[in-house]
Amino acid sequence: MNVALFIKTLRDHRFFILGGSFLMGLFVVVFMFATNSLPMEQTKVWMDVPWIKSLITSLMGSDITGVLTPSGMATFSFTHPVMLAIMIAVVFSMASAGLVGEIDRGTIDLLASLPISRSRIYASVSAALLSCGPLMCVSLWLGAFVGRKLTGQTEIDMGNLVLVAVQFFFIFAFLCGMALGVSAMCSRRVVAITICFGAVLYAFTVNVLSAFWPALKFVSYSSFFRYYAPLKIVETQSVQWSSVAVLSIAGLVFWLAGLLVFRSRDFPAT
């Protein structure tokens, strides 16, 4: 890894990283306020509507009716599409700017003419991106902590939410691996971002549809959202290590494929 490039990558995206993390934490606080203002009976009535129940189950990775506790409700915010969209935007923006963005802008000539091997360039950008994960996880947890204080929901188990944040880090890491891999293979930033968002849309659609259409259950294994089930963590009070393993291996495969391509590809003049 090249320290100068690592720092530069973080500096280039500092407002995006800090802003994104802050927004994620803020979203959790707002969400906890909103859910706290809803009577639990109302929530239970909604859960009796089959399609709402299926939708929430697909997002949470488990049947929520049995876990309608304050902790269970708090984990909703950790899996809400808005929160995931903020995280995905930060990951895709950083991953694409650091690799394919350099090629697209033509600055790769400057970077690749320095005495830094391509593997070290790739590793430096990857390390910078991955180092944002803990900040986001802490931001989520802090959001829940502040929300708990402000709403007075003292029964929320903050220890359980640490485990959810740990699992969140692994879906973040998977997305980093995928985005870096795709970024290393493309020559246009817009193409890389389109492919990554296409993959997210596919995963989201398959995950949601499989809750309504049992025939899609088998296909849903290809959706990375399937391996992010915060409610199961609350139920079992442990990280889902099998899901962590799947996310880690899949992310690593994408990352290694990107590394192999980045090491051997041409950087033609733009």
């Binding site: 090249n2 320290v3 100068a4 490039l5 530069k8 280039d12 802008r105 033509g106 600055t107 790769i108 000539d109 400057l110 690749a112 003419s113 320095l114 005495p115 830094i116 091997s117 051997s264 041409d266 950087f267 033609p268 003049a269 733009t270």
Partner: protein, 295 residues
């Protein structure tokens, strides 16, 4: 001792042949001019030397090492200025130079400060607000600041005013005076003529001529400028070896290749008011090589 040794180098992009059978050597301590029009293959050759592109065939060695497999080691002793220098717009000039210095392991900051003064660059400003000339100066400084053994510059004077071009030429003369080497691509022949001691001419992905600037100029090519009241008719019969480059206001400019006797005989029959026969400029050589290729 040669810093760069290229033999039978080829590069294809799918069906498009960018380089074919290019061979040349760049001696240590020389200022080597790499001449050719846009699309001739100059930048492709330079990018292969730096390790930005992988050759499709042949061999490219820098400091005796393979340009692709040993590219990181090579780049420790080399600096490159891209033809279209793109920089990080969000940084200040100082920030960019500091980043380059740190990424290279340090040691170039005092030289960077000297070069900023030499090229009159206000480096504290954001690059986003720089003019083309300022960007080019910054790109030149980042290439020079670590005093590399080999400087590869792709059209470095693009966007520089004549004063700064002169400053760059002086810096590059200083580089070679220290025994370091400059490989310099250009399509502006006069600057290669002014600056370089060796030259290679590339066209259509091939080297059409290589040698010292002097040896190329001393080929049997002569530059002719003739003047005659009433001008020269379009139907003027030209002897073999004579090529007209321009015809304006009674002045005909051209080049002559071959023995001098037939030229003198032909000129004697033209009833000229004035004639000058001189060494060719590289411009003339360039045009001649291209015409030969086309013929």
């Amino acid at each position: 001792m040669n810093v760069v040794e290229i033999s039978n180098l080829a590069k294809n992009y799918g069906d498009i042949v960018a380089l074919r059978d290019v061979s040349l050597t760049v001696p240590t301590g020389s200022r080597f001019g790499f001449l050719g029009p846009n699309g001739a293959g100059k930048s492709t050759t330079l990018r292969i030397l730096i390790g930005l592109l992988r050759a499709s065939g042949g061999a490219a060695k820098v400091f005796g090492m393979d340009a692709w497999t040993d590219s990181t080691k090579i780049r420790q002793r080399l600096a490159y200025l891209s033809g279209d220098a793109r920089l990080y717009d969000g940084m200040t000039g100082t920030g960019l130079l500091r980043f380059i210095d740190r990424a290279r392991g340090g040691g170039g900051w005092s030289e960077a400060k000297r070069l900023c003064e030499r090229f009159e660059l206000a480096a504290a400003r954001k690059i986003r607000g720089y003019s083309k000339g300022m960007r080019q100066k910054l790109a030149i400084i980042q290439a020079l600041m670590h005093k590399p053994d080999l400087l590869i510059l792709d059209e470095p004077t693009s966007g520089l005013d004549p004063l700064m071009q002169h400053a760059l030429y002086e810096e590059l003369r200083g580089v070679t005076a220290e025994g370091r080497t400059v490989l310099f691509s250009s399509h502006t022949l006069s600057e290669v003529e002014q600056l370089c001691d060796r030259v290679a001419i590339v066209r259509g992905g091939r080297i059409v001529e290589a040698g010292t600037t002097e040896s190329l100029r001393h080929r049997a090519l002569r530059r002719i400028v003739m003047k005659r009241r009433g001008g020269f008719p379009e139907t003027l019969a030209l002897p073999e070896g004579m090529s007209v480059r321009s015809r304006q206001d009674g002045t005909l400019t051209g080049t002559w290749s071959g023995a001098v006797d037939p030229l003198v005989g032909w000129l004697a029959g033209l009833k000229l008011d004035d004639v000058s026969i001189s060494q060719p400029s590289l411009e003339d050589l360039f045009a001649t090589y291209y015409r030969e290729q086309e013929d």
